[in-house]
Amino acid sequence: METFTRFLLLICFCRHTIYINGIRFPSFEGGTYPPTDRPHLLLSVCLILNTLRRTDYLRLRFSPHIVDIVCALASGRWSLSVSPLSSHSQSSVVGCVGSVLLVVLEKGIDHIANPNSSFRLGVRFCPFLTGDISGYIHYRMVGLSVGEKHFIQGGIAQDLRTDGRKRLTYRPIFVETGVIAQANGSARVKMGRTEVIASVKAELGRPSSSAPDKGKVSIYIDCSPTAAPQFEGRGGEELSMELSAALRQCLLGGKSGAGAGINLSSLSIVDGKVCWDLYIDGLVISMDGNVLDALGAAIKAALSNTGIPKVNVASAASSDEQPEVDVSDEEFLQFDTTAVPVIITLTKIGRHYIVDATSEEESQMSSAVSVSINRQGLICGLTKRGGAGLDPSVILDMISVAKHVSEQLMDKLDSEIAAAEAMEEES
C-alpha cells in the first residue's frame, strides 16, 4: 500500500516542475508533459521516478541517462504497448503497467537502461488492484532522445564516457582460442558486450599468376541473427560486406598482395604451383559497437592459434607438371603473427574522437577512421566510414593517436592470447 501512495504523490509531483536532486527536469519544460489521455504512461513515468528514488540511482554518474529514460518515455522515444490477457479496460492497463514497474522496482533499472533491447516482464501479481491481471508489456527503444544524445556527447567532451571510461580506453578484452575444433585455428574475442568468433582454414591451392610466390588469404565476415534480429534472412549482408571489405583493406594490402599485414610469402610452397589458401571466416555473435576492432583482434588471435600442416614436396620431374605434395598429419608449423596488425577505430563524436565506441556512441558518430598498425608502428591499412568530412590535419592527428593506442592494445592482446593458449594447453 505504501508504494501506491508514493505513486499518487508522484503523480501530483509530475504535474509541476520536476526536480531531481535539485536539477530541473529538462524534457518537461515547454509543456511536454505526458499526455493525460494516456494515464498508463504518466503512471509509468511516475513509477520510474519512484524506482530511481528507491535504488539510489540518482547518485550515480549515470543518473542523467536514467532521467533520460523517463524523458524518453514521456517524449515517445520508448514505445509502450500493453497486451492484457482478458480485456483492454483502463484499469487493467494501468494495473499491468503498475505491476510491471513494481517488478522494475525489484529488479533495478538496469534492465530498461539497456538500449536497443526490448524490455519485457511477465506480470503475475498486482498488489494494489483486485484480482489477478496477467499480461505482457513491451518497452522498445525507438532511438536516442535529445537529452541522452547530449549526455553522451557531453561525457565525451569531458573525457568521462557513460560507462566510466576515458576517451582512449578500451573495454576489457577476453580471448579464448581453439573454440572451433574443425578449423586450423580459431578464437573467440569479447570486448564488453561485443563478441566475435574467427576461424582460419588452410587449403592447398594454386597461386595467382600475378603473384606466383605468394599464398592467398580471403576474409569473409558474417553477421549472425543472434547478434540482432535485423540480421535475419539477408538483413546482415550489407554490414557483412562492409566489414569484410574493411578487414581486407586493413590486413591484406593491395591486389598484388604487396604491403599486406599478413605475410603472404610464408604461405607459398612451390613458386607458381602450390600454395596455401587461408580462409578466414568471422562471425559476429553479439554486437555492441566496435565490431571491426574486435574482428581484427579475433583474426590475430586465430592466426596465432593456427597450425599449418608441414608439406613435403616430391621433386617434380618437369616444370610443367603439378608437383606432388604430401601433407603431414602430425607436424604443424606455427603461423608467424608478429607482423599481423591490430585495428584501431577512432570514432569522431562532436569535436573529439574515442576508441572502442559502444553502439550508443556509434549512433552519434560523424565519421570513423579505422587504422591497422603493426608492431613496428607502420600503418598497414586505413578506412574511413561515416558521412561527414574530416580535416586532413585531424586525420593525421588521429593516426598518431591510433599509433599510440595500438601499442597498448597490442601488448594487452598479446598477453591475452598467450593466456588463452596456456589455458587451452592445460585443458
Partner: protein, 273 residues
C-alpha cells in the same frame, strides 16, 4: 565399414548407448533476451531469443496467441570442408520449421497474445545431431528469456548400424546411410513432440531405437535442468549481493547527507556571526 568394433566400441570410442559429452552455457549473447550455447561432443550451437516483443509485420499478428519465428543458420566454418552456402537454403529452412514447430508446442503462446518471439539458432560446429542440439539450445535460451513453457523440450537422435542401436550419432555415423531417428520429448509430461526418421527399419527394431533416443532425451533433460538450477542459484546469489550493496550505498548516502547538512549549518552559523 565397421561402425561398432567386436569389443562393442564405436568409432569415437563410445559404447553404443553412450551419449557424447554435454556442455551448456547460459547467457552467451548479452544483447538478447535469452541465450545459450549447447554442445554435444563436437556439435556446438548458439541460440538467442528475442521477445516477446511487438509483431514486426502487422499481417502476421495473431490476436489470441504469440507468433513464434525461428531461423537456423550455419557458420561458414561449421562443417569439415569449408563451404559458402547461400542463406535460406532448403535444408536450413526445413530445420527452422522443425525447430519452430517443436518449440511452439511447448511455449504457452496463449499467454502472450499479439506479440512475437524470435528464436535464432546459429551452428558453430556441425558434427551430427545439429537438429537435436539446436532444439536443446533453444529450450535453454527460452528458459533464460523467462518465456512461459509447458515443459522443457529436449531432443536426441539415435540410429541403427551393424545391427546395433546407437545413441547420439556423430557425423560419420550419420552419413553412413543407416536410419537416423530424431526424437524430441516433453520430459515431464512424457510426450513426444518431434519424431523424424529416414531410411527403413523393421517395426520391432524401430521401437528399440526410438526407446533409446527417448532415454537420451531424458538424460539431456536432466542435464538441462541441472544447468538451469545452477544458473538460478547464481542469479540468486548476485541478487543478494546487490541488495547488500544497495544497503551499503544508502548508509553512505545518509552519512554523506548528514555531513553535508552539518557543514552547511556550520557555514550558516559562521556567516551569521
Amino acid at each position: 565399414m565397421e561402425y561398432v568394433s567386436p569389443e562393442g566400441l564405436r568409432l569415437d570410442g563410445r559404447r553404443p548407448m553412450e551419449m557424447r559429452q554435454l556442455r551448456a552455457e547460459i547467457g552467451a549473447v548479452s544483447g538478447a533476451d535469452g541465450s545459450a550455447i549447447f554442445e554435444m561432443g563436437n556439435t556446438k550451437v548458439i541460440a538467442a531469443v528475442y521477445g516477446p516483443r511487438e509483431v514486426q509485420h502487422r499481417s502476421q499478428l495473431n490476436n489470441d496467441k504469440a507468433l513464434i519465428r525461428c531461423e537456423y543458420t550455419m557458420a561458414n566454418f561449421s562443417t569439415g570442408d569449408r563451404t559458402r552456402k547461400p542463406k535460406g537454403d532448403r535444408r536450413s529452412t526445413e530445420i527452422s520449421l522443425v525447430i519452430r514447430q517443436t518449440m511452439e508446442a511447448c511455449i504457452l503462446t496463449h499467454l502472450m497474445p499479439r506479440s512475437q518471439i524470435d528464436i535464432f539458432v546459429q551452428v558453430l560446429q556441425a558434427d551430427g545431431g545439429t537438429r537435436s542440439a539446436c532444439i536443446n539450445a533453444a529450450t535453454l535460451a527460452l528458459a533464460d528469456a523467462g518465456i512461459p513453457m509447458r515443459d522443457l523440450v529436449t531432443s536426441c537422435s539415435s540410429g541403427y548400424l551393424n545391427s546395433t542401436p546407437l545413441l547420439d550419432l556423430n557425423y560419420v555415423e550419420d552419413s553412413a546411410g543407416g536410419p537416423d531417428v530424431t526424437v524430441g520429448i516433453l520430459p515431464k509430461l512424457d510426450k513426444v513432440t518431434l519424431l523424424q526418421m529416414d531410411a527403413k527399419l523393421p517395426m520391432d527394431i524401430f521401437e528399440n531405437v526410438m526407446q533409446l533416443a527417448t532415454e537420451g532425451c531424458k538424460a539431456v533433460a536432466n542435464y538441462i535442468r541441472e544447468v538451469l538450477i545452477q544458473n538460478t542459484k547464481q542469479l540468486e546469489n548476485r541478487h543478494a549481493d546487490q541488495l547488500s550493496l544497495s544497503l551499503f550505498r544508502k548508509l553512505l548516502l545518509y552519512g554523506f547527507c548528514s555531513w553535508r547538512i552539518i557543514k552547511f549549518l556550520e557555514k550558516d552559523v559562521e556567516e551569521e556571526t
